[in-house]
């Protein structure tokens, strides 16, 4: 088994992105959808770190820290919206909330 290369990280990142995307698109529970969004964000983070390591440039790592921070804020806001939604609609299933239409 050879050393872990950048390509491996990118493959992991792509897998996570794919899993996250499928999760967002297919799961009904908004909590799961939020978790899937975390997966997507972490896929981006792995990508950033991998290229930062590859280019020996710390910018990528800093971006990753920003993304983590952003993810935390987004999770907080997302869960807040979720609670408000539940209070109003008594559901956490995304397909039962279809107000965003004409």
């Amino acid at each position: 088994m050879g050393p872990i290369t950048t390509t491996h990280y990118l493959a992991l990142s792509a897998a996570l992105l794919l899993i996250g995307t499928i999760g967002v698109l297919t799961r009904r529970n908004i909590v799961i959808i939020l978790m899937s969004i975390e997966l997507i964000l972490n896929a981006v983070n792995i990508n950033l770190i991998a290229f930062s390591h590859y280019w020996q440039n710390v910018n990528g790592q800093i971006f990753a820290i920003f993304v983590i921070t952003d993810a935390v804020a987004e999770a907080a806001v997302g869960l807040g919206i979720l609670i408000a939604l539940f209070r109003n609609k008594e559901t956490v299933l995304a397909d039962e909330v279809d107000l965003l239409k004409w």
Binding site: T21, L25, A94, D95, D98, K101, W102
Partner: protein, 739 residues
């Protein structure tokens, strides 16, 4: 005391009496139940339910026989009202007596003055606006509250207050048993006030105030027994018929304002006599129209054809009212007014001819009806109409003083006759039908003898008042420039008829066999002194009144010719004109006088023969001349004709026509407009629904249609949107990679 400057007091006295009676009388009069029946409307307030029902029963009793109240035992209810009645009996006639004394004083002082005319202007009553007269000059529409005492009004106020006072005294006895005593005297005083205003006014406008006022009092007194339908109907009839004449009066007065610029008697006479206007002999000019309009007013008030119909019905009022208002004073207002306008009528011979013709026709027409009437008061009523016709005949031929002379003597004997008939009715407990009278001569002697005097006087037997005035009228109708043989013959025939119907009345009432109902017979009694004394006074007047106007032919002087000389200043130019006649010789006048007396005697003799000596004759004549008798008995069917033409024809028929007009034209127009609105609204609705709304909906339909593809992807599901994003992103990638 200077009565002349205080003539405004003369009408004031009766006004005070009227105001006190009508404002306070009801409060002072503790009316017993039977009197409530007379005035139920006034007495409702302090009547409980029970008392009212009681009053109602009594009112029916009164309706049948208004005069028989005293025959039943009514003593129990009269003591509390007695003191007040005494007060009213003193107060109201007293006020008229004061008026009479003042009038006498004023007239006595007037006779001392040189110009025999005295004007007192209290204030400007109608302060009017300037206006342009018919000829373009500027005049002011104004009238004074002013009094004019001249020989003409002097005669009138003496008659009104003198005869009025006697009738007031008579009423004390006559109305003693009737309810509404204070009300009766209040109205009577009010009447005297308005009548004095009428004759003392110094202009037509103020005269008209009195004119309408006496009309009002006439209405109130005709309808005095207002619970009786026929009485209230008669009052309304009098009022309405008079209104027709009043319209003419008002128009004449306004025309006078427009043409002469004033309605003051003095100014009018001065303008008319100044030569500014010429006698309208050729055509029917503006003055003739003015005179005719005023005469229409006179026909209403003085009961001439065609407006006489109200006067016979006015006999529904109490008999003193018939005597005072509907015989002696008010109905002569028209004669007075025309005489007052003598200056105008002298310039309008054509209208004067109409006046004479109407007067003559009325005289004979009413006399013909009086021939067959059976109601004692109705005979006298038609007699009054007939005598008024005589007066207008005299006015029409320009013999103004003779008309006033007849007015003067007529006031005595006709008031006397009415009061006597009232006394008869009183004695018989309300019976007015002469077919149920007879042989009353010895039972009520005073009434009989006074009525005998009155009948002699009206029949025109020499020595009594009626002879002098009637004979003078006939002579003037024959000899004056405007007179004619036809007018004379009509007058003469009327004189014969007058004598006949008066002696028919006398015979049916006082002589022959008694036809009185037995239960009434027992109660016959002579009237009290308060009634017989005025009768005697008037009888004396009926004898003496004529002697102040003896024919010129008799060659007497001084007092015996006093009436004409006294009135000379009032009809200044009339006297001049009269002086121009006299082309007829004395023998003609003697013959005519003899003829008229002969006619009167024949009338009396025929009546005596038919109704006393051979009482079966009238029935035979009735049977032979059925249609004529029926026509006369039904008063020539004039009432029916008026009813047909005016009431049913114009009023009701007109109502029907207007109703049809309303239904078909007015309602039709409204309905048509509604129909048009509905049609147009239907069109509008269709346009709105299909065109306006259609356009809007079509637009929205287009938008909806075009938005359809966009809309179907908008599911509202967030995940679907996310899927689009992913697919879109992949598409970009795919494009990027595949390129």
């Amino acid at each position: 005391m200077n009565f002349l400057d205080q003539i405004w007091l003369i009408p004031l006295f009766p006004l005070v009496g009227a105001v006190v009676m009508l404002l306070l009388g009801k409060r002072l009069d503790p009316q017993p139940a039977s009197e409530v029946a007379i005035a139920p409307g006034l007495e409702h307030t302090h009547d409980d339910e029970h008392g009212h029902g009681h009053a109602h029963d009594h009112s029916h009793a009164h309706e049948a026989h208004p005069h028989d109240a005293h025959m039943h035992d009514h003593g129990h209810e009269h003591h509390h009202g007695a003191a007040l009645r005494g007060l009213v009996s003193l107060f109201c006639p007293g006020m008229v007596l004061l008026s009479f004394l003042f009038s006498a004083g004023a007239v006595a002082q007037l006779s001392q003055t040189a110009e025999r005319m005295h004007q007192v202007i209290q204030f400007t009553w109608l302060a009017g606006l300037p206006f342009h007269m018919a000829d373009g000059r500027l005049a002011t529409f104004s009238a004074d509250w002013g009094f004019l005492l001249d020989p003409l009004s002097a005669v009138m106020i003496l008659v009104v207050t003198g005869v009025g006072f006697l009738i007031h005294v008579y009423s004390i006895g006559y109305m003693g048993h009737e309810g509404g005593y204070y009300r009766f005297f209040g109205y009577l005083n009010l009447f005297v006030f308005f009548m004095l205003m009428l004759v003392l006014a110094n202009n037509y406008a103020l005269l008209f105030v009195g004119w309408e006022g006496v009309g009002l009092c006439s209405y109130l007194l005709i309808g005095f027994y207002f619970h009786k339908k026929s009485a209230s109907d008669a009052g309304i009839k009098a009022f309405v018929v008079n209104r027709v004449g009043d319209a003419g009066f008002i128009l004449g007065m306004l025309l006078m304002f427009a043409v002469l610029g004033t309605v003051k008697f003095v100014d009018v006479n001065q303008i008319l006599r100044s030569g500014q206007f010429h006698a309208e002999t050729a055509g029917f000019g503006v003055l003739s129209a003015m005179a005719l309009l005023l005469f229409i007013g006179a026909t209403g008030k003085s009961a001439q054809v065609p407006l006489y119909v109200w006067l016979p019905d006015a006999m529904e009022g109490p008999t003193p009212v018939s005597a005072l208002i509907h015989a002696a004073t008010m109905v002569t207002a028209g004669v007075y007014m025309v005489a007052r306008s003598s200056a105008l009528y002298q310039l309008t011979p054509q209208t004067s001819t109409i006046v004479a013709a109407v007067g003559a026709f009325t005289a004979i027409f009413a006399a013909s009806i009086a021939l067959v009437q059976n109601d004692i008061k109705r005979v006298l009523a038609y007699s009054t109409v007939s005598q008024l016709g005589y007066m207008f005949l005299a006015l029409g031929v320009g013999a103004y003083w003779v008309a006033i002379f007849h007015l003067f003597t007529h006031a005595f004997f006709k008031a006397l006759l009415f009061l006597c008939s009232g006394s008869v009715i009183h004695a018989l407990g309300g019976e007015q039908d002469m077919r149920r009278m007879g042989a009353l001569k010895d039972k009520i002697p005073v009434t009989h003898w006074t009525m005998w005097v009155g009948s002699i006087a009206i029949a025109g037997i020499p020595g009594f008042a009626g002879f002098f005035s009637k004979d003078e009228i006939l002579w003037q109708a024959y000899s004056s420039k405007q007179g004619s043989n036809a007018l004379y013959v009509i007058g003469l025939l009327t004189a014969g008829m007058t004598a006949f119907y008066m002696w028919r009345l006398m015979n049916m009432t006082f002589y022959g066999k008694s036809r009185v109902a037995p239960e009434v017979e027992a109660h016959i009694h002579e009237s009290p002194a308060s009634m017989t004394i005025p009768l005697s006074a008037l009888a004396l007047g009926s004898v003496l009144a004529g002697w102040i106007g003896t024919p010129k032919l008799w060659g007497m002087s001084g007092w015996f010719r006093g009436f004409e000389q006294w009135l000379e200043p009032a009809f200044a130019s009339a006297a001049i004109e009269a002086a121009q006649e006299g082309a007829h010789d004395a023998s003609t006048e003697w013959i005519l006088m003899a003829v008229s007396v002969a006619f009167a005697l024949i009338g009396i003799a025929v009546a005596r023969y038919c109704y006393h000596i051979r009482p079966e004759i009238p029935g035979a004549i009735e049977a032979r001349c059925g249609p004529i008798h029926r026509v006369l008995l039904n008063k020539w069917y004039v009432d029916e004709f008026y009813n047909f033409l005016f009431v049913d024809g114009f009023a009701k028929g007109g109502g029907r026509v207007f109703g049809a007009f309303d239904r078909n034209v007015v309602d039709g127009a409204v309905n048509g407009a509604g129909w048009l609105t509905r049609i147009s609204s239907t069109v509008s609705i269709w346009w709105d629904t299909w065109i306006v709304d259609g356009a809007v909906r079509f637009t929205s339909f287009l938008v909806k249609l075009s938005s359809y593809p966009v809309r179907i992807v908008q599911t509202g599901r967030v995940q679907a949107y996310a899927l689009f994003v992913v697919v879109g992103a992949l598409a970009f990638f795919g494009y990027y990679i595949a390129r």
